[in-house]
C-alpha cells in the first residue's frame, strides 16, 4: 500500500515546484502550522510595540515608586519597583529577545555553513584542521562557557549576538560537512566541473542548494536555543543590561520580589516558553516536511 501512495504522489510531484511540495507537506502538520501562526503574531506584536505599548519602557509612574504595584486598569500587568509599566516592558523586552535570537542564529548558521562547506568540499588537511578546531570548541561544555565569557565581558547587544553565534555553530558545521562530503561525489557536480565551473561556483550554485533543507531545520532550532541562551545570560545579569528590558533580565529583576510581587515573574517566562516551544515545533514540522522517507 505504501508503494501505491508513493507512486501516486510521485506522479503529481512533477507538476509542482520543490517549495510548493514542501509547503503542502508542512501544512498537513497542524502543530507546526499553529506554531508558525503563534510566531508571526508574536513578531507582529513586538514589532508594533511602540504603537501597542501603553507607556514607554522607561516611563515611571511617580505615584507607584518604591514597591511593585499589582495589576490594575492603568497598568494591566502591574508595575515594577520603579513604577514602570510591566506590560510595556514586556513588549519592548520581546523585541530585544527575539532580535538577539534571530541574529545569533543567523551568525551561527552562516559560520557553521561556511566552515562545514569549506571543510567538506576541500577535504584533506583543510578538513582535518577545521574539524579538530570544531572538536575543541565542542569539548567545552557550551552553557558554562557562554556564561563564563558573558560574565567576564558584560557584553553589549551586538557582542552578545556574536558570542552566542560563535559558540553554537559546531552542530551546523558537522551537518553541512557531511552533506558536502557526499554531494561532492555526485554526478551533477562532476558534470558542472567538466563544464569548467570554478570551486566557488560549485560550492554556491551546485552543492549548497542541495543542502538547504537540513540547514534550514538546524537554523530554526538554533533560533530557539539562542533565545534560551540569551534569557539565561540576562537572567544571571551577564547579558543585556538594564534599563534595556529583555525577557531574561525582566525575570532577573522579578526574583527580588518573588514573594511580594509574583505577577512580575510569570509573563516574561511564559513568553520565552511559548516562543521557544513554537520555534522547536516549527523546526520539527520542517524536518518532517523535508524528510522524503517518512
Amino acid at each position: 500500500m505504501a508503494t501505491l501512495t508513493q507512486t501516486r504522489s510521485g506522479f503529481r510531484r512533477r507538476q509542482q515546484s520543490f517549495a510548493a511540495r514542501i509547503w503542502r507537506r508542512f501544512v498537513r502538520n497542524r502543530l507546526a502550522v499553529a506554531s508558525l501562526v503563534v510566531l508571526l503574531c508574536l513578531a507582529a506584536i513586538v514589532l508594533l510595540a511602540p504603537l501597542l505599548a501603553p507607556y514607554a519602557f522607561d516611563e515611571q509612574d511617580i505615584e507607584l515608586l518604591g514597591q511593585p504595584a499589582p495589576p490594575s486598569w492603568a497598568h494591566l500587568l502591574g508595575t515594577d519597583q520603579l513604577g514602570r509599566d510591566a506590560l510595556s516592558r514586556l513588549l519592548y523586552g520581546g523585541r530585544i529577545s527575539l532580535a538577539v535570537g534571530l541574529a545569533a542564529a543567523t551568525v551561527s548558521t552562516a559560520l557553521g555553513t561556511a566552515v562545514g562547506a569549506w571543510s567538506g568540499f576541500h577535504r584533506g588537511w583543510v578538513d582535518t584542521v577545521m574539524m579538530r578546531g570544531t572538536d575543541v570548541v565542542l569539548s567545552v561544555p557550551a552553557l558554562p562557557l557562554i556564561l563564563l565569557i558573558s560574565g567576564l565581558l558584560r557584553p553589549t547587544v551586538p557582542l552578545l549576538i556574536v558570542i552566542i553565534g560563535a559558540l553554537s555553530w559546531m552542530g551546523t558545521a558537522r551537518l553541512v560537512r557531511g552533506q558536502f562530503l557526499s554531494l561532492r561525489e555526485r554526478e551533477f557536480v562532476e558534470a558542472a566541473r567538466a563544464l569548467g565551473a570554478t570551486n566557488g561556483r560549485l560550492i554556491l550554485r551546485h552543492i549548497l542548494p542541495n543542502a538547504v533543507a537540513p540547514i534550514t531545520v538546524a537554523a530554526t532550532l538554533t533560533v530557539g536555543q539562542a533565545i534560551l541562551l540569551e534569557s539565561a545570560m540576562s537572567f544571571f545579569g551577564f547579558g543585556v543590561q538594564p534599563p534595556t528590558p529583555t525577557w531574561g533580565n525582566l525575570l532577573n529583576e522579578a526574583t527580588q520580589w518573588l514573594d511580594s510581587a509574583p505577577w512580575l515573574a510569570i509573563p516574561p517566562g511564559l513568553l520565552i516558553f511559548l516562543t521557544v516551544l513554537s520555534v522547536n515545533s516549527l523546526g520539527d514540522g520542517l524536518r518532517d516536511a523535508f524528510d522524503t522517507r517518512a
Binding site: L148, F236, L251
Partner: protein, 318 residues
C-alpha cells in the same frame, strides 16, 4: 572488533585536544578586560604600590604565555593553582563541592532514566496516536522551558505560597536529617529530571521508530511473534544502543546541566562555586572548573565510542 591500537590512538589524540581546550579557556579568561584585583583598584585605601605587589604575588604581572606555562605546571603538579578568594588549592575547592553536585545530578538522572525509557518506547511504537501526541507535547515543553523560570515558578508555588518546601539551600540550620535533605532536594531534582526526561524520551522515541522499520522486525512479525514480544525482545534491545550513548554523555556532562539549577536554589555544588568565582574573577578556580567539565566531557565521548564498539559487534574499529 576493537583493536588495542584503536584505543591507544584515541587516547593519544586526547593530548592535543586537551591542550587546545586549555589554550582556548585560558585565552577567554585572561584576555577579558578587568581582573581579580579590580575590587582593590577601586579602593582609595590601597596604594598603587600595594596593588602592584598583590599583582606580582599572584603572578598576574607576567606576560600571558608565562602565566599559561605556570598554570600548566600547577595543573600537572596536581593542585591546579590556588584560589584567589580563599587561597586554597583549586582542586580541593572543587572536590569539596563535587559530592553535592553528584547527589543532585545522580538522583535526577536516575529518575529521568527510569521514566524516559518507557515513555520513549511507547511514543515510538504508538507513533501518531493521541498518546504519542501528548507525550511529544510534554517532551517538547521540557526542551523549551527555561530552566530558571520553571525553578522560579516552583519556588513561587511550593515555597512562597504553600510553605511546603524550603526555597533553596542544602539543609536547614540545625537540620540535616534524611527528611530535611529530601525536602531541599525535591524541587531542584524534579526540575533537572523533567528537563532530562524531555530530551531522553525524544531520543528513545526516534531510536525506537528507526528500529521498528528494520527488516528483522518484519521477520519476527512474520514468524508469528506477538506485537508485545516483538517490542520487548527485538525492538527495545536494539533501540537501546544509541540511547545509552546519549545517556552516558549526559552523565559525564552533569555539571553543565546543574549550573543554573544550583544557582537558583543556592545548592552548594560546583555550579554555585562557578557563579561565585565569576563575581570575584577567581581565575584559577574558573580555569579549574572549566577544565574538569571539559575533561569529563572528552573522556565521556571516548567511553561512549568504546562502549559502542563493545556493545555492537557490527561496528569496525581499526
Amino acid at each position: 572488533m576493537m583493536s588495542p591500537r584503536f584505543l591507544l590512538r584515541r587516547l593519544a589524540s586526547l593530548v592535543p585536544l586537551l591542550i587546545g581546550i586549555s589554550l582556548l579557556l585560558f585565552a577567554v579568561i585572561h584576555l577579558a578586560p578587568g581582573g581579580p584585583l579590580d575590587f582593590y583598584a577601586d579602593n582609595p585605601g590601597v596604594t598603587p604600590q600595594a596593588l602592584a605587589e598583590m599583582k606580582a604575588a599572584l603572578g598576574l604581572d607576567q606576560p600571558i604565555h608565562i602565566q599559561y606555562f605556570d598554570w600548566i605546571k600547577a595543573f600537572l603538579q596536581g593542585q591546579w593553582g590556588y584560589s584567589i578568594r580563599t587561597s586554597r588549592p583549586v582542586l580541593l575547592e572543587i572536590t569539596e563541592r563535587l559530592p553535592a553536585t553528584f547527589l543532585l545530578g545522580g538522583v535526577s538522572l536516575l529518575i529521568a532514566f527510569v521514566i524516559a525509557l518507557p515513555l520513549g518506547v511507547i511514543s515510538g511504537v504508538k507513533r501518531y496516536t493521541s498518546i504519542d501526541y501528548v507525550l511529544t507535547l510534554i517532551s517538547f515543553s521540557g526542551i523549551s522551558l527555561p530552566v530558571f523560570w520553571l525553578a522560579l515558578m516552583l519556588q513561587l508555588v511550593f515555597a512562597v505560597s504553600l510553605h511546603w518546601l524550603p526555597s533553596g539551600g542544602y539543609e536547614d540550620i540545625g537540620g540535616g536529617s534524611f527528611g530535611d535533605h529530601l525536602a531541599h532536594m525535591a524541587m531542584p531534582v524534579s526540575i533537572l529530571a523533567f528537563a532530562t526526561i524531555a530530551k531522553w524520551a525524544r531520543y528513545m522515541r526516534a531510536s525506537t521508530i528507526e528500529v521498528m522499520r528494520q527488516d528483522y522486525i518484519r521477520t519476527a512479525r512474520a514468524k508469528g511473534q506477538s506485537h508485545r514480544g516483538v517490542v520487548i525482545h527485538h525492538a527495545i534491545q536494539n533501540a537501546l544502543m544509541p540511547f545509552v550513548t546519549v545517556v552516558a554523555l549526559d552523565l559525564v556532562n552533569i555539571f553543565s546541566g546543574t549550573v543554573i539549577t544550583e544557582a537558583v536554589f543556592s545548592w552548594p555544588g560546583i555550579g554555585k562555586l562557578f557563579i561565585q568565582s565569576m563575581d570575584g574573577r577567581d581565575y584559577p578556580v574558573l580555569m579549574g572548573i572549566m577544565m574538569i567539565a571539559s575533561l569529563t566531557l572528552v573522556l565521556g565521548n571516548l567511553l561512549a565510542d568504546v562502549a559502542y564498539g563493545l556493545i555492537d559487534p557490527r561496528i569496525e574499529m581499526a
